[in-house]
Symmetry: C2
C-alpha cells in the first residue's frame, strides 16, 4: 500500500492489516498499534477509525492502590485465573509518577513472564513520558487497542497517585482498590476518600498480622458508602496474591460487579463516562500540542511578555491566544 | 461597593481593598485572595486584573524531591534564613498526589509555626481537590497572589511526583531538587532524569551515613549536565535542615542562580515560560469546565453514546464537540 495514510508504519502493511492481525491477538500487531496511538502517529486517525467498530466488548477492570500493596502480584494472579477459565486478558500498567523513566516498571513485569509464551495474555507499560499534567490520551487509546483487539478482560493498573486513580476509574467498568496491612498510609489514605471509587475492596497479604484489622476498618466505613450507581456495596475480598489465595473469589467479585452493571443498565452509563473521558483527554492533548507549537511563535512570545511584565492579566491572555 | 463584580467576597470591601491589604502583607487578605483564585470565584477576572500590575517582582524558588527527604524542614529553615536577612517569604505547598485529603499536609506545616506570628512569612497548602489530570490553574494563580502581594521570595514545594515537578519547575526562577541518603529510590530516580530540572542540588541529612556517596554520585552525573540556559552547572549543597547546617550556603546558592539569570538575560525567558504555563493552565481548566458543564447535556450524551457503541471514533467526536 502506498497511500499517505500508511506513513508511520515502519514496515509494509496497512492499518487494516495491522488491526486484523491484532484481532487474532498477535502480540506484535497489538504492540505496534499501541505504539501508534501513543506517539501521535500520522496514521492515528486511520487507526482510530479502524478500531472503533470493534471496541466496547472487553470487561475493563481498573486496579489501584498505594505502592507496596502488591498490585503487580495481584494482576499476575488475576491474569492466571482469567486464563484458567479460558478467557484472554490484556494488561496495561500506567506509571503517572515517572515522566522520566519510561521503562521503569518493566522490572515489575518480569514476574509476569510465566505468561510470556501465552498469546492469551498481553502486557504493556505506559509511562507519562514527560507530558505536563495528567495522563495523556495515550492511556484511553491504548485501552481501546486492547479492547478492539478482542481481549475478553482488560486490566489497567495505576499507582495510587490521586488524580491517576480517578482517571483510571473513569475508564474502567469495575475498579479494584488494593490495600495491605502495614503498607504505610494506605488504609488511612483510603479511608479519606478512595473508597468512593472502589467497586471491590481488596485486602492483600491477608496472611499477615493486621489484615483482619484492615478488613474490619473497611467494613465499618463501607456501611456508610454506596456508589453513584445506586445499591452496589463494594465487597471486601481478602487475598494472598503471592500464592493465589482468594484470587478466584476476587475474580468472582469483579465479574459479579460487571454482571450487576449489565443487569441494572448501569453499564451503558459507565461506557458513556469512558467515552467522555476519552474525548476530553484528546481535546486536552490538542490544547497542549497547540501550546507546544506556539512556544517558538512571535504571537505567544508577545503575549507571554505582556503577562510577565504585568501589562496583561493571564485570563485576558488566554482569551487572546485561545478563545474557547 | 455594590457592583456585581464583588459577588463572591463574603464580607464587605472591594477587590481593590483586598489587594491593597494583601500588599501590606495582611495574612487574612492574602489568604482570601488565594481562596478566590482557587475556587473559580465570580470575581476571579477582577482579581486577576488587579493583581497583574504588581506581579513579577518576587524571586520564585521551587523545591521538589521524593517523600521523606526533608522538604518541609528545608523550607522551614530556608524561610528562617530569609527572614534573618530582613526579606519576606511566601510558601506554597502543593500536594498533587492527594485529590481527597485537602488538608493532609497541614500537619507538616505545624513545624513552621515558629513563624506563625511573623507577618513576613505566609504559608498555604493547596491540594489538587480531585481535578482530573495535573495541577489546576489554581497553583500558578496562588503563586501570582503571593508575588503580587509583595513577598520578596516565594517558595513552592511539591512532592516528587513526576509531572508536578515539571510544572513547578516551569513556574520557578530557580528549582532546588532535594535528595537524602537512604530515602528510598530518591537518588536513583533523580539520576534517571530529575537533574534536568535542578538549578541547585541539595543533599539533606548530610550528617548521615551515605550522604557523601550521594554527593559524589551527583557530582559525577553533574559533570555531564548543563541547563537549557547554557553555562549554569547546578551546585551541590549539603545541608542538615533540622539544625540549619548549610542553610545559609543553600540560600546563597539559590540567590546566586537568580543573580546569574538576571545578569545573563535568562530571567526574562524564564518569566515568559512561567507566563506561558499560567495561560496554558487557564485554557486547560476552561476545557475541563466545558466538559463538566457538558456532562449532563444531550449533545455530549449522543456523541458519547456513539463513541461507546463504536459508531464514531473518539477523534471525530473531539472534532464534533470541541473543534479547535
Amino acid at each position: 500500500m502506498t497511500s499517505s495514510g500508511s506513513r508511520g508504519l515502519r514496515s509494509g502493511g496497512t492499518v487494516a492489516d495491522l488491526v486484523a492481525s491484532a484481532r487474532e491477538l498477535q502480540p506484535g500487531a497489538v504492540a505496534r498499534l499501541i505504539s501508534l496511538v501513543e506517539t501521535d502517529s500520522p496514521v492515528l486517525r486511520e487507526v482510530a477509525v479502524a478500531l472503533a467498530p470493534h471496541a466496547g466488548r472487553a470487561q475493563v477492570v481498573g486496579i489501584t492502590g498505594s505502592p507496596g500493596v502488591g498490585k503487580s502480584t495481584t494482576i499476575s494472579a488475576l491474569s492466571h485465573a482469567i486464563r484458567q477459565q479460558g478467557r484472554t486478558v490484556g494488561v496495561l500498567s500506567v506509571d503517572p509518577s515517572s515522566p522520566f523513566t519510561g521503562g521503569a516498571l518493566l522490572g515489575d513485569r518480569i514476574r509476569m513472564l510465566e505468561h510470556a509464551t501465552d498469546q492469551g495474555v498481553f502486557v504493556r507499560s505506559l509511562a507519562s513520558r514527560g507530558r505536563l499534567g495528567g495522563l495523556s490520551a495515550a492511556v484511553p487509546q491504548a485501552l481501546r487497542v486492547l479492547d478492539a483487539s478482542g481481549y475478553d478482560v482488560v486490566l489497567i493498573e495505576t499507582v495510587g497517585a490521586g488524580q491517576a486513580e480517578l482517571e483510571i476509574a473513569s475508564l474502567a467498568d469495575t475498579t479494584l482498590v488494593v490495600l495491605a496491612p502495614g503498607a504505610g498510609d494506605g488504609v488511612q489514605a483510603a479511608k479519606a476518600g478512595i473508597l468512593e471509587i472502589a467497586d471491590v475492596l481488596v485486602v492483600n497479604k491477608a496472611d499477615r498480622e493486621g489484615s483482619a484489622t484492615v478488613a474490619r476498618d473497611l467494613s465499618r466505613t463501607q456501611s456508610y458508602h454506596s456508589t453513584s450507581d445506586g445499591s452496589w456495596v463494594a465487597p471486601i475480598v481478602q487475598i494472598v496474591a503471592t500464592d493465589g489465595g482468594g484470587i478466584d473469589e476476587l475474580l468472582a467479585a469483579a465479574d459479579g460487579h460487571f454482571a450487576w452493571l449489565a443487569s441494572t443498565g448501569s453499564l451503558a452509563g459507565r461506557r458513556r463516562r469512558r467515552a467522555t473521558a476519552e474525548v476530553e483527554a484528546i481535546v486536552i492533548d490538542r490544547v497542549r500540542a497547540r501550546f507546544a507549537s506556539l512556544t517558538s511563535s512571535a504571537a505567544l512570545d508577545a503575549v507571554a511578555e505582556n503577562v510577565a511584565c504585568g501589562a496583561m492579566d493571564p485570563y485576558s491572555a488566554a482569551d487572546r491566544l485561545f478563545p474557547i
